[in-house]
């Protein structure tokens, strides 16, 4: 397929995944900030700053959660917002409409137009929250349509590659931010109530709460890190995402398992192997923060290698 088209599909999928991630993060933060007020008002005020940074915005005054929320959701001039990501996805889709199925294009187009419409209308908190849920379900519909209306050719692999690479990055960043969350420090007196609340929020931000609860009996830091990072059966874990990305890369180049043809496959294959044989105890002992930062840098390099191999 055309390199220009492949690149547009890859970035389209990344923006779509990011918009889902941003929408969920906003909904979770909204709920968490509300809950925290009953535990520690000081801690509650810190939540929006963390979420802002995660979505790439300048840190803001924590006092006004509402305006931060609106900016992160509906400010089209801010590329990290839900609307900004949907716009980027749609702009890419517009240039490659013929490579998508009509159903996919229409789903993306409709959700973008609705969010755009909402962005301009007078704010109602309930409507804003429900629109974010609609963004999420549209993204899920879009990803389902991808798997059920497209043939499994290169276009499909590039769309999936973009999605899983983006997911690996988003999950790693979310986990890192959550473990270093200032609310944990701000509410030491209430820490007894705080820890499970915070871990549950971390899982929810990764859409992992229910799956985790089925797999584990109790909330513990070690098990949460394991689940989000290394649990290969969970479709949003970093390991699972990179395994999927690895599959896409090998499908594109035709390389069999355990062999690599391109730099991207080498980087990705190593990452997968490292995660596969990692143990959570070692990760925690060696310092989880440093581990996650190194992981992020490697995921970044993988993106660059894909760019170099296929799009330029």
């Amino acid at each position: 397929m055309l390199s220009r088209v492949a690149s547009a599909l890859f970035w389209l999928a990344r923006s779509v995944e990011r918009s889902d991630h941003a929408a969920r993060l906003l909904l979770v933060t909204h709920g968490y900030a509300q809950e925290l007020r009953g535990v520690s008002p000081a801690a509650a005020g810190l939540c929006w700053g963390v979420t802002s940074r995660l979505l790439g915005a300048e840190p803001v005054e924590a006092s006004d959660g509402r305006s931060v929320f609106r900016r992160l959701a509906y400010d089209g001039t801010f590329p990290g917002s839900v609307l900004g990501n949907l716009r980027a996805a749609r702009e890419n889709a517009r240039g490659v409409r013929d490579a998508l199925s009509s159903e996919m294009w229409e789903t993306l187009n409709v959700v973008y137009l609705r969010v755009l419409e909402e962005a301009g209308s007078p704010p109602s908190e309930a409507a804003e929250l429900s629109l974010l849920r609609r963004v999420q379900s549209s993204v899920h519909l879009l990803q389902g349509l991808r798997d059920h209306t497209l043939s499994q050719t290169d276009a499909w692999h590039f769309l999936r590659l973009g999605q899983f690479l983006e997911r690996a990055g988003c999950m790693t960043r979310t986990l890192a931010a959550s473990l270093a969350h200032p609310a944990l420090e701000a509410a030491p007196s209430a820490s007894h109530a705080m820890d499970p609340l915070h871990l549950a929020m971390t899982l929810r931000a990764a859409a992992a709460f229910e799956a985790y609860s089925q797999a584990e009996a109790a909330l513990s830091l070690e098990r949460v890190v394991h689940f989000l990072l290394l649990e290969h059966t969970f479709p949003r874990s970093v390991e699972h995402s990179l395994i999927e990305a690895d599959r896409c890369l090998r499908a594109l180049s035709g390389a069999p398992e355990s062999v690599f043809h391109t730099d991207a496959e080498q980087i990705c294959g190593r990452l997968v192997a490292d995660l596969r044989f990692a143990a959570v105890e070692e990760v925690l002992q060696a310092g989880v923060h440093e581990y996650l930062q190194r992981l992020l840098a490697r995921i970044w390099r993988l993106g660059e290698a894909i760019e170099h191999e296929y799009f330029s």
């Binding site: 397929m1 055309l2 390199s3 220009r4 088209v5 492949a6 089209g76 001039t77 702009e91 517009r94 240039g95 490659v96 409409r97 013929d98 009509s102 294009w105 229409e106 187009n109 409709v110 137009l113 290169d154 590039f158 594109l252 296929y310």
Partner: protein
């Protein structure tokens, strides 16, 4: 009938209502259904139709500040109907016309017999902006120059169809034919009851067959692409739509490169050869080496590959000479010259101000005439005598006197009118009809075509660039 009680007939022919204010037989079932449609239901359907286009992205984009705003093209939901016998004549006339025009193009770019025989003045052809001298003696596959043609038809007071112009370069609008039909089937399904309407859906397959036909000598399974100027072009929706429906790659100039005298596209697996290009870029922009050096849209060296026969184009280069508005005046002679037949479809009386007498006639009668630049389309470069201001007329007179070859004048044709929803009532609005003709292994006419409607009261300009809309067109099987 309540709905049409206050309906007023204009000076021209009315498609639905006859001079005695009776609904024409083929419109009766529809008119009854429209009359019983409650106002609130119609409003609901109107909204549904708008959403249909908006959601599917059947839109063009207006750029304001940084953000693009999507607009749907104006449309009307009262279908225009063409009875089977009328269509039969139109179809035959259109086939005759494209066949003759194609022989004409072949001749112009080869032996120029028609010029030697003095049927058309030589200077008219060599003075035409879209005549390509560099194209003389260059062979094109199967000697077909025009593969896709959109001919504009209008109806005068008497209901007779006239050819207003031929669009032989990159005619657009066919996607609206297909989308209007789909919208009508979804939003007004019950209006089809009792009508057998000819299909339009197979257009894209027919077009793909044409592309394969003209590249059959290059490959058993030719690779076809649609070359578009890109997302900022106002017809981009149509380009993406047609490429998708044909299952071919939609490419931009930057995706193509010429190597070893072949056209290649840059893919994720290296370069891939292209055999046939359905190009939606004008001649002038297609190859900076040959035409406009400032073109960012084309592909360097493309024309040379075409010249050597290693890639096929639809349409060919240089076809614009045959839809030059001055050459148009000679098309009846063209048909007689090549086919020894009388034209089935008449053209509008056209004055070429090339000699003193005609120039004089045009200048003195300008307030009764339409003056058009010969090399413009889309309603640009046009002065409507009866509605123009004194200043506009004076300006037009000066322009015609300065460059008589660049202008033609025609009597004002009133255009037929068609009932159209304006608010909650039906009012007559002027329409034309653009059928699409494909020329590959044989000549095929898409039943119906694009009915364009001038939504402003009294306006005779139907072009979408000038506020025109469109409506579904039904060719009936009986």
């Amino acid at each position: 009938m309540q709905l049409l009680q206050n309906y007023s007939l204009g000076p021209g022919y009315d498609e639905m209502v006859d001079a005695e204010h009776a609904v024409r037989p083929h419109y009766r079932a529809l008119a009854e259904r429209l009359a019983t449609l409650p106002v609130e239901v119609r409003a609901q359907r109107q909204r549904a139709a708008e959403l249909f286009f908006l959601n599917r992205g059947t839109t063009f984009t207006v750029y304001k500040e940084e953000a693009g705003i999507d607009r749907i093209f104006p449309f009307d939901t009262v279908p225009r109907m063409v009875p089977a016998d009328e269509w039969e004549t139109l179809e035959a006339g259109l086939k005759q016309r494209i066949y003759a025009l194609n022989l004409f193009l072949y001749d112009l770019y080869h032996d120029q017999k028609i010029l030697k025989d003095g049927v058309i003045p030589v200077e008219l052809i060599y003075g035409a902006r879209h005549f390509r001298r560099e194209w003389i003696q260059v062979p094109v596959p199967h000697d077909i120059y025009v593969h896709v043609c959109g001919t504009d038809l209008i109806r005068d007071r008497d209901g007779v169809y006239y050819v207003l112009e031929d669009n032989l370069r990159c005619p657009s609008g066919v996607s609206y034919v297909l989308e209007n039909r789909l919208m009508m089937q979804q939003v007004y399904p019950e209006q089809f009851t009792g009508y057998d309407v000819r299909l339009v859906r197979d257009y894209c397959l027919a077009l793909r067959d044409v592309l394969h036909h003209i590249a059959a000598h290059l490959s058993d399974e030719p690779t076809a692409v649609l070359l578009s100027p890109g997302v900022y072009n106002s017809a981009y929706f149509e380009h993406a739509y047609l490429a998708k429906q044909m299952g071919i790659e939609l490419v931009e100039g930057r995706d193509l490169v010429v190597e070893d005298n072949a056209v290649m596209m840059r893919t994720t697996r290296g370069l891939k050869r292209v055999d046939v290009i359905y190009r939606r870029i004008d001649d002038d922009f297609i190859d900076p080496l040959v035409f406009r050096p400032d073109s960012m849209l084309g592909v360097t060296g493309l024309v040379n590959v075409y010249r050597s026969g290693n890639v096929a184009f639809a349409n060919s280069l240089g076809t614009g000479v045959a839809d030059d508005k001055a050459v148009y005046a000679f098309t009846p002679q063209v048909i007689r010259y090549y086919l020894s037949e009388d034209p089935i479809l008449p053209i509008v009386e056209t004055y070429l101000p090339l000699d003193e007498r005609t120039l004089d006639h045009v200048l003195t009668n300008m307030e009764r005439l339409v003056v058009k630049r010969v090399d413009e389309a889309g309603g640009y470069g046009m002065v409507m005598g009866p509605t123009a201001s004194k200043r506009e007329l004076d300006e037009a007179r000066r322009a015609v006197r300065a460059e008589p070859r660049s202008y033609i004048a025609q009597p004002v044709i009133s255009l037929s009118q068609h009932p159209t929803w304006i608010g909650d009532e039906l009012q007559g609005r002027h329409v034309d009809l653009r059928p699409y003709v494909l020329y590959g292994e044989d000549i095929w006419v898409l039943p119906g075509g694009l009915t364009r409607v001038a939504l402003r009261k009294g306006s005779l300009v139907v072009n979408s660039s000038q506020g025109g809309g469109s409506k579904d067109t039904w060719v009936l099987t009986c």
